[in-house]
C-alpha cells in the first residue's frame, strides 16, 4: 500500500515535472541568422534595423504592431484611447497603465519610473539618441502611480502612440542605465551589450558584429513561455547564403531580409526545408526625378534648389515625367526582381488602407504608344540619333542607384523602355554604404543626387504617415546649408503641398487625415517628380519545423518570438 502510494505520487510528480519542462525552454535552441550583424543591444544607440530586431527579444515597448499594422497591448492590459479615457479629450496627453506583475529579468518590478527614465535617457541632448523622433513633442512624462504613465504633449497629438509603441522605443531599466546618461551612454558597454529587459530572453553572451547567445528569461511574465530555452543569433554573410542556410541546408531556423532574385528564392524553397514569408508595410521602390540641375559644369551649385532658380532642363516638366512613367511596365519589374515579395504600385504612400489613394492606378499598365504620343504632342521629337529633343535640349538622363543585383536588373529594364521611348539613359551604380552613407563630403550620396534620376526604397515606421508625408515640404530640401540633410530628395517644392502638411498636423479626425494624405500623395504623383515602381514586402524565411512565426513589417520581425515553438 505504502509502496503503491509512493509509486503513484512519484509518477504524478514526474508527470507534473515533465509538463513543466514541456513549457518554458522545452524546445531547445532556436538558431537565427541575420546577414547584417548587430553591433549593440541598445535600440537607442543605433538606427539600424538589425540592432532594433535583436534587442526586441530582450527589451520591450508597451505596445507592438501586429502583422496588419494594428497596435496591440504588450506590457499593458488595454490600449489607451479617447473612448476609454486613456487619451485626453483635447489630445494633449496619453495615459498608459502597466499590467500587474510585470518584472524585469532580474526580478525587480517594472515601474513608471523606468519609462520616465527612458524618456530622459533618449532626450538628453548630449546622448545622440537614434530614436529621439519617437519622443518629439513630449513636454513631460509623469508617474501617476507605480504602474501609471502619463505622457504630456506640447500641442494636440492626433496620433499619440509614438513613445513606447513599436520595437524602436522600448523601455530601459532605470537601475541599470542611470549612470549612462548623455555623453556616457556609449561607454556603458556591459549595459548596452546585455540590457536587462522584460522580454522573453536575456543575453548570456554578446559578441559585437558576430554572435549573440540568449537564454530564456526566468522571470518572464508568462510561465509557459518562451518555448525555446536558448537562442543563437548569428550575424554576417550575405542574403543569399542566409537564405540557403535556412531553406536548403537547414542549419538555421530563421533568416531575415532576403532581397534576392525571386527565381533563386523559389528554387531554394523547393528544397523543402523551410518557407519564405512576406509581409507588406509601406516600403516603396521609387524613382526620384531631380527637379534641380545636376550638370557638373555648375560646380558647387549642382543639384542645389536655390529657391527654384536652378531648375532641371527638362525633368521639371510633368509631361516628360508622365511619359517616363507610362513607358515602364511595372509588372515586368516586379516579375524580374521581386516575384511575390513585391506588388505593382502607383503611389508613394501605399498603406495603411485609409491613406492609400486610387487616383493614379492608370500607371499599372504600360502605355508606350501613349507615352510617345504625349512627348510628340509636347514638342519633344526624335532627333537624328533617335533621342528626343526640343529647343536644343536632349532627353538624356544619368540614372543611379545602389549596387544590388535586383536594382541593376530593374535599371537595365527601365533603360530599355526609355531608349524605346527616345530617351538616352546612362546607368550608374554606387556601393550601398556610400550611397546611403550620408557623408556630406561624398558626391555619391542619394541626398546630393548628382544625377538626373535615382532609384531606392523608403518607408516609414509605425502606422501614421504624417511625418513621412512632411518630408516633401520645401524646407526639407537638402542643400549645402543643411549639410545635405533633408528628406525631400527630388527637390519638390509647392506651397500648396506645404499648406496640406500644416493642415494635417492640426487635424485629428482619422477620415479627414486620410483625405489629406491622399491629396498629398496625388499631388506628388501628378508632379511626376516621384515615379513609384514596386510596393515591397519584407522577406524572411523560416524552417518548416518552426511554428508561430507571424511576420510583420510594421514592427520587429521577432516581436512575438515568445510564441514561437518547435514542431515535432
Amino acid at each position: 500500500m505504502k509502496l503503491k502510494f509512493i509509486l503513484t505520487t512519484t509518477c504524478a510528480l514526474c508527470v507534473v515535472a515533465s509538463a513543466a519542462i514541456a513549457e518554458r525552454g522545452s524546445d531547445g535552441q532556436l538558431n537565427i541568422i541575420y546577414w547584417q550583424a548587430p553591433s549593440t543591444m541598445n535600440t537607442y544607440l543605433s538606427g539600424g534595423t538589425k540592432e532594433v530586431e535583436a534587442a526586441s527579444m530582450v527589451i520591450e515597448p508597451l505596445a507592438s504592431y501586429d502583422p496588419n499594422g494594428n497596435l496591440v497591448p504588450r506590457l499593458v492590459d488595454e490600449l489607451p484611447t479617447v473612448e476609454n479615457g486613456g487619451v485626453s479629450e483635447d489630445l494633449m496627453s496619453i495615459t498608459w497603465v502597466i499590467s500587474e506583475g510585470i518584472t524585469w529579468s532580474d526580478g525587480t518590478p517594472l515601474t513608471a519610473e523606468d519609462a520616465i527614465f527612458t524618456w530622459q535617457y533618449c532626450t538628453d541632448p548630449a546622448g545622440g539618441c537614434a530614436q529621439a523622433s519617437y519622443f518629439d513633442g513630449i513636454t513631460s512624462i509623469e508617474a501617476i502611480d507605480d504602474r501609471t504613465i502619463k505622457i504630456n504633449f506640447a500641442e494636440p497629438k492626433p496620433y499619440p502612440y509614438t513613445a513606447f509603441a513599436g520595437a524602436e522605443s522600448p523601455i530601459l531599466q532605470k537601475a541599470q542605465f542611470q549612470d549612462c546618461m548623455g555623453a556616457r551612454a556609449p561607454e556603458c558597454t556591459d549595459a548596452n551589450f546585455g540590457p536587462i529587459g522584460t522580454g522573453p530572453f536575456v543575453v548570456s553572451e554578446f559578441r559585437p558584429n558576430d554572435v549573440i547567445t540568449l537564454e530564456a528569461n526566468p522571470n518572464y511574465r508568462d510561465p509557459a513561455k518562451p518555448a525555446f530555452g536558448s537562442v543563437l543569433f548569428k550575424g554576417g554573410g550575405d542574403a543569399a547564403s542566409a537564405a540557403r542556410a535556412v531553406l536548403e541546408t537547414g542549419e538555421y531556423d530563421y533568416a531575415w531580409n532576403l532581397q534576392i532574385e525571386p527565381e533563386i528564392l523559389t528554387q531554394m524553397e523547393a528544397a523543402g526545408k523551410g518557407k519564405v514569408v512576406v509581409s507588406f508595410q509601406t516600403s516603396v521602390e521609387r524613382l526620384h526625378l531631380n527637379q534641380t540641375n545636376p550638370d557638373p559644369a555648375l560646380g558647387d551649385m549642382r543639384s542645389v534648389y536655390d529657391e527654384g532658380n536652378n531648375p532641371h532642363p527638362f525633368l521639371t516638366d510633368p509631361v516628360v515625367g508622365k511619359a517616363l512613367s507610362m513607358a515602364i511596365d511595372r509588372e515586368i519589374v516586379v516579375e524580374a526582381g521581386y516575384g511575390r515579395t513585391g506588388q505593382v504600385t502607383c503611389n508613394v504612400l501605399p498603406a495603411p488602407e485609409i491613406y492609400a489613394s486610387t487616383a493614379n492606378d492608370g500607371c499599372k499598365v504600360q502605355d508606350m504608344e501613349g507615352a510617345k504620343a504625349l512627348l510628340d504632342e509636347a514638342g519633344w521629337v526624335p532627333g537624328s540619333d533617335g533621342v528626343r529633343e526640343k529647343d536644343g535640349v536632349r532627353l538624356s538622363v544619368l540614372f543611379q542607384t545602389s549596387t544590388n543585383s535586383v536594382r541593376q536588373g530593374s535599371q537595365a529594364l527601365i533603360k530599355q523602355w526609355w531608349n524605346e521611348l527616345g530617351v538616352e539613359v546612362e546607368l550608374r551604380n554606387i556601393d550601398a554604404s556610400v550611397f546611403f552613407g550620408g557623408d556630406p563630403g561624398s558626391p555619391d550620396t542619394f541626398q546630393k543626387f548628382y544625377a538626373d534620376v535615382q532609384m531606392y526604397t523608403n518607408n516609414f515606421a509605425g502606422a501614421d504617415p504624417e511625418a513621412y508625408m512632411g518630408n516633401w515640404r520645401c524646407a526639407e530640401i537638402p542643400g549645402p546649408d543643411s549639410q545635405w540633410q533633408g528628406a525631400n530628395i527630388q527637390r519638390f517644392c509647392d506651397p500648396a503641398y506645404d499648406a496640406l502638411v500644416d493642415e494635417m498636423s492640426k487635424t485629428a479626425d482619422l477620415n479627414e487625415r486620410g483625405r489629406i494624405a491622399k491629396a498629398m500623395n496625388d499631388m506628388l504623383m501628378q508632379s511626376y517628380s516621384i515615379i513609384p515602381l514596386v510596393y515591397r514586402g519584407g522577406t524572411s524565411a523560416h524552417a518548416n519545423t518552426l511554428e508561430g512565426v507571424r511576420m510583420t513589417d510594421w514592427d520587429s520581425e521577432l516581436w512575438n518570438i515568445a510564441d514561437w515553438t518547435r514542431a515535432e
Binding site: E263, I264, Q267, A336, Q416, L427, D431, P443
Partner: protein, 306 residues
C-alpha cells in the same frame, strides 16, 4: 671523329640566324606555350570577329525568354533578364582584354623605366625605390575610390561614359601595379651593371643611354616579359574586382568580371552563367601565363638550345 659535330655546327651557322629566330625556334619547342598562344589568339579573334557572326545585342532584354538553357539562338543561354550570354561574353571579352593588355603595357612601361633608372644610376636609386615603396604601401582600394570619385565626372564629360571609364580604369590599374616590375628590373640591372661586358662597354666610353638600350635591356627582357604576362592576368582580375564594387563600367556594360559576379547567385539555377565567363577568364590567364613561361625559356640563352 671529333671533327664531325663541329662541321655540322659550322654548316648550320652558315644559314641566316638572328636572336629572334632563335627565340622563336626555342619558343616553338615549348608545348604549353604553343597551346597557350593558340588559345589566346583564338580568344582574341573570337572577341573581335565573334559579334559579327553571332549578332545578338548583348544589352537587349527579352524578359519572356529569361534563364533559358543552351539553344541555337542562345548558345550559352540567357541570364535572368533574358540577355544573351554568348553575346555578353564576347563583348565582355573585348573590354576585359582591352583593359588587361592596355593596363599591362602602361604598368610595364612605368615599371621598367623606374627599375632601369633606379638600378643603373646610383643617385636615383634611393628616391625611386622609396617612391616604389610608397606606392606599395598605398592601400589600393581607398586610393581607387578616391581617384574614381575625383576624376569620373571630368572624364565622363570629356570622353563619354564608356571611354572615360575605360581610360580611368586602365590608368588606375596601370599606375597601381608597376611596382613589382620595377623591383625585379632594378635587381637585374644592378647585377648586370657589374658584369664584364657592361664594364667593357663603359670603359670604351659608351654613353649610359646606349649601354642601357644595347646591353642591359635585352638581358632583362625575360623578367619583363614574365611580369607582363602576369600583369595581363592581374589587370583582368582587378577590373573584375572594381566592377564588383560598382566602381567600374556601368552595370549594363558587360565585362567578364561583372558577368561572373552577377551570375554567382544563379550558380545552381543556371550554371552556364558562371561557367562561361569563368572559363574565359581562366583560359586567358592560364594561356597568358604559359606564354610567359615559354618566352622566359626562349629568351634565356642558357636554356635555349637545350
Amino acid at each position: 671523329m671529333t671533327d664531325a659535330p663541329a662541321t655540322v655546327t659550322l654548316l648550320q651557322e652558315t644559314r641566316h640566324r638572328s636572336l629572334w629566330s632563335d627565340v622563336w625556334a626555342q619558343y616553338r619547342t615549348h608545348k604549353g606555350a604553343m597551346l597557350g598562344t593558340f588559345i589566346f589568339v583564338f580568344i582574341i579573334l573570337l572577341t573581335i570577329f565573334g559579334p559579327y557572326i553571332h549578332d545578338a545585342d548583348p544589352q537587349f532584354l527579352d524578359i519572356r525568354n529569361k534563364n533559358a538553357g543552351m539553344s541555337w539562338a542562345h548558345p550559352m543561354g540567357t541570364d535572368n533578364l533574358g540577355r544573351d550570354m554568348f553575346a555578353q561574353v564576347l563583348y565582355g571579352g573585348r573590354t576585359s582584354l582591352a583593359v588587361g593588355i592596355t593596363a599591362m603595357l602602361l604598368s610595364l612601361v612605368v615599371g621598367t623605366f623606374v627599375g632601369v633608372l633606379a638600378g643603373y644610376f646610383r643617385r636615383l636609386d634611393g628616391p625611386l625605390m622609396r617612391l616604389t615603396d610608397l606606392f606599395l604601401a598605398l592601400p589600393l582600394l581607398p586610393l581607387l575610390l578616391v581617384i574614381i570619385m575625383l576624376f569620373r565626372d571630368t572624364l565622363r564629360a570629356a570622353f563619354g561614359p564608356e571611354t572615360g571609364i575605360f581610360l580611368l580604369i586602365v590608368f588606375v590599374i596601370g599606375i597601381t601595379s608597376w611596382m613589382q616590375t620595377a623591383r625585379i628590373v632594378r635587381g637585374d640591372v644592378l647585377a648586370l651593371k657589374e658584369r664584364e661586358f657592361v664594364l667593357a662597354a663603359r670603359s670604351i666610353g659608351t654613353p649610359p643611354r646606349r649601354i642601357i638600350l644595347r646591353h642591359v635591356m635585352p638581358n632583362i627582357l625575360s623578367p619583363i616579359m614574365v611580369s607582363a604576362t602576369l600583369g595581363v592576368a592581374n589587370a583582368i582580375i582587378t577590373e573584375s574586382a572594381l566592377s564588383f564594387l560598382g566602381l567600374g563600367f556601368p552595370s549594363d556594360f558587360p565585362t567578364w568580371g561583372r558577368l561572373l559576379f552577377d551570375g554567382a547567385n544563379f550558380m545552381t539555377l543556371t550554371p552556364a552563367r558562371v561557367i562561361w565567363p569563368g572559363l574565359a577568364i581562366s583560359l586567358t590567364v592560364l594561356s597568358v601565363n604559359f606564354m610567359g613561361d615559354g618566352l622566359r625559356d626562349a629568351l634565356d640563352p642558357r636554356i635555349r638550345g637545350r
